[in-house]
Symmetry: C2
Subunit: 224 residues, 2 copies
Amino acid sequence: MTSKNTLQSRLDYVFCRPVLLRRAMTHRSHSAPHNEKFEFLGDAVLNCVISALIFQRFPALKEGDLSRIRAHLVKQQTLCQIAQTLELAKDLRLGEGELRSGGRKRPSMLADALEALFGAIYLDGGFSAARAAIERLYAPILDHLDLKMSGKDAKTCLQELLQGRKIALPEYTVITTRGAAHRQQFEIQCTVPSLEIQARGRGASRRAAEQEAAARALAEIKRS
Amino acid sequence: MTSKNTLQSRLDYVFCRPVLLRRAMTHRSHSAPHNEKFEFLGDAVLNCVISALIFQRFPALKEGDLSRIRAHLVKQQTLCQIAQTLELAKDLRLGEGELRSGGRKRPSMLADALEALFGAIYLDGGFSAARAAIERLYAPILDHLDLKMSGKDAKTCLQELLQGRKIALPEYTVITTRGAAHRQQFEIQCTVPSLEIQARGRGASRRAAEQEAAARALAEIKRS
């Protein structure tokens, strides 16, 4: 049983062996056994889960783009952001010196502990448990990434996807242009005739609106 | 059904979706879809499985040693060795140019295809299937590594393990010394009284014999 305020409830995962969770939260400055080896394992588990997630989520992307996205998702800053959402700092077990020097807030400390936590979940519940937890924690970031990606190269993705299926390339048409010159708002329609897809996007530039339209067309194709 | 000579039988894994195996064996010089993205995925799967395997197999090792061993196990040379055991080259699908320039034997080509194969197994049968296949293929290497490790620092591993359990340190006794001075053969016994373990090792030096005895004592402890 977990109350609302425990790490396990925030994580939405209950450990069969809570000793593993305890160790994941224990920094070497506190006591042994500490979380360094869990971090070694968790780093590899995270890398694997993220690779599989983005492999499946972005079927049109090439290896180089997947590598770039993976690097973004497993870097310290992203891990730290998730650790903050989880309020991981509250549960860290640090030695006196680390506590005094603000270790609880140090990004590397939080990122390492989060990786150790993934290692602990792997040891406790296996790969599927670790994958599910990582997927839950990364969901908001991945959703946001979809948009960022679409602002970046959704047009390219869409083009590649259609070329791969030997389908005629999409057409982009301006539907409306609104606002004064310095605050224009574009609405663009992306049409893929042979798939009967018409998707619209808006943006402060023609390019941004096209990217959003392409992202929506892509999503449409993936759903069908 | 697979005959003795297929890659699937040598791999001891039968694909539900053979198209995935085919893609894993297809180099970009041959045709699309090729194996580059499978390699991206397989590399991460391999890294994760190897991390978990050595984490469990070498409980006394520290993070730095585990990292070193992992790097050894996933490097091109090791992958190439496994690819050769699997006779992977026979199944590679390469373009004309690659074939002519001896691509089938190029270490990087073989290593990449093996990683792609691990990615394909992950997609076909999930993490547990990939883990089982990797474990089978790495078994001889890990067994050899055990011995190499023991030739390297089994005494240290054993000492750390016993210290961790607050057990008295092992004693090493010379049992026999044979042969002429330049070809001596030592037999050493490693005794851990409180665990009732007596393990013997031989070697051309006292140190080598002690390491082998320590490795056997370690193995004994892990089995019990």
